[in-house]
Amino acid sequence: MKRPIRVLVAKPGLDGHDRGALIVAQGLRDAGMEVIYTGLRQTVAQIVAAAVDEDVDCIGLSSLSGAHMSLFPALLDELQKEGANDILVIGGGVIPPTDVRALKALGIAEIFTPGSTVTEMADFIRSRVRKNRGTERAAADPASAPQVIDHIGVAVVSLEDALRFYRDHLGLQVVHEEMIPDQHVRAAFLQLGETHIELLESTSEHGPIARFIAKRGPGVHHVAYRVDSVSEWLERARSSGLRVIDDAPRTGGQHKLIAFVHPASAHGVLTEYCQIVQE
């Protein structure tokens, strides 16, 4: 098994603003990384010691107090001194553009300022760490190939009608129903072993399901494979030149993290990567 990416999120100096650091820590965890958060008021030496002890791939520094021009370079020096300068260092906070340029010139790999998304950070870390580890692989790792079909999406004209077949005739149990407003969809999930049948009814004539039915009629809409990390699979799809529909993982039905590959790249089947997010 491949080792997950390990990240140390650190608050150097005296700054107490940790909303950003906490959100990034939680978001990177949800993106499948192992994250250690140092807590407030860490000296540069403490951070480097923790990074070495925890054998991390990346240090994320957060500072909103204006001390970044002293603290970030000091951390790079300390890493050098400890022979740990292979660790990727990124930063974030209230950092003006001129300082961003200066810090990047000194060796901070990237600075994420207010408005950056955790998804961008996760993608950045993943691509750089993979390069660092030198494990860019052409083929998928068989160990992490999907083990199960999470669900099969079926576009239906009317949920009530469809349930007469799936629930009343086949006898499958409805385990969950949900509105997905941004997709204009009402969905019902029926249990079949580890897999769900997801019945999709459009709530608007402009929604994707309505358009699908108008073009191709009701029927199988997509197949969703359960994976460990949607973002890694997206990255893999992109690097193999597949056409992806989502640039970044997003939240789908039942709060799972999902992303789609276009049918044109999957032999006519709309294909979904689907990751269960641990609460």
Binding site: G13, L14, H17, R19, S70, G115, V118
Partner: protein
Amino acid sequence: MANESYKERKEQFLTSSGINVQRIYDWTGAETADAYEERLGDSGMYPFTRGIQPTMYRGRFWTMRQYAGFGDAKQTNARFRYLLEQGQTGLSTAFDLPTQIGYDADHPFALGEVGKVGVSISSLLDMETLFAQIPLDRVSTSMTINAPAAVLLAMYIAVGEKQGVPGASLSGTIQNDILKEYVARGTYIYPPQPSMRLITNTFAFCAEHAPQFNTISISGYHMREAGSTAVQEIAFTLANARAYVDAALGAGLAIDDFAPRLSFFFNAHNNFFEEIAKFRAARRIWARIMKEEYGAQSQKSWQLRFHTQTGGSTLTAQQPDNNIVRVTMQALAAVLGGTQSLHTNSRDEALALPTEESARIALRTQQIIAHESGVADTVDPLGGSYYVEALTDEIERQAIVYMDGIAAMGGAVRAVEQGYMQREIQAAAYETQCRIERREDVVVGMNAFTVANETEPELLRIGPELEEEARIRLRDLRAQRDQTAVHASLRRLEQAARGDDNLLPPILEAVRVYATLGEICDQLRGVFGEYRPQHW
């Protein structure tokens, strides 16, 4: 309901606190005459939903109090005098992080932080410079200082003494709210119990020696900045307020001796009506707690007086001029909510400390609301709005559910120690971030309506030479002052800390002989220890 010809653009309309907003509000549930007396009351009348004074801004405008401070005491003194000349009516002091955490500017932990987020104050000498040519009997000064609040207050009193202004003529506010530091802001020093003692000592000392001083500003602002909802903001703040009242009563103070000097500090965020309703709900809840739960007799004890600052975390680094518009709406919400004083943020605060020009636009924003818009000409102009009253009731209801929950845990100090508020806020903050990343929440200029090439605005820069100058000033001070007097005063402080005496008199004595902030705080560190938070 789902009439196709009246389709709405969203399934649900929710406020920041998750309150479901109806399509239209009507007289159903509106106040009857009896309920009006009970739930609203005229301004200046219990339960003060409509405002704490009868005339509100018809008497005088809110205090326009811009938070300022950067670099050394000399630079900040110049900014203060500039703001006063520009028509600002009160001062508000930002201290740098070493000062806020009780380290002198030459301490190793101060590296890179001196003068960055506020002014650097290491001793009475710096404080004298900070208020040079500013007569302390004619200006009210707010100081954002918490863990070492007693020390900075003592320095302020000592500057007053040098100017010939007695304590009784000093007015202002110290933030002095340690509980929210553990929850959200992070500038704690000591563990909760001795910190609570420092706070009640300050209450007692000021009741006698500086009766015009607000001894605490119980703050929801930073919890909101950390990501709480509007309901959580007032619920956690008022729960913390209860803890301070309980501590003061436990220390033997009489409720009406200190409660009139309690003040509050809230955020003015984006959801306009929710914010207005929040301020009104907070006033009503507090009045009832003070009168009915604590049996306070003085009207002044029932009145929730508050300062407001517009929401820093709502500002975007992208297209920073858009922030002027955000700040205007937030400031208007604070005024319509009946604030006593207001700070409007500068447009460039997501990038750096504000420039002088940005700070001036922020102040002008308040002046335009006050002098041109006409909104200050009647009291509580939105009182009786079906929507605002319904929101006020709902926020009150939800806040009380939270507060009862915290009481059941054993009060705010226990809840903070167990990380309860921290976890609630973190969950709300993460949810907000996810909504923004999924573009369910639109942030104009950031995740929608973006421009390709942002121009780089002019920014204020604090030079590193400041740190060296501060170090030299401290070295000279330590060489010139009466060393014996300093050591004696620090020894007396330590003895007092080990016993039960009020700590303010020995702190004041140490400050007068130029013991430094770091020396005083270290003396107390030796007795009280330091707070170490638990981490997940």
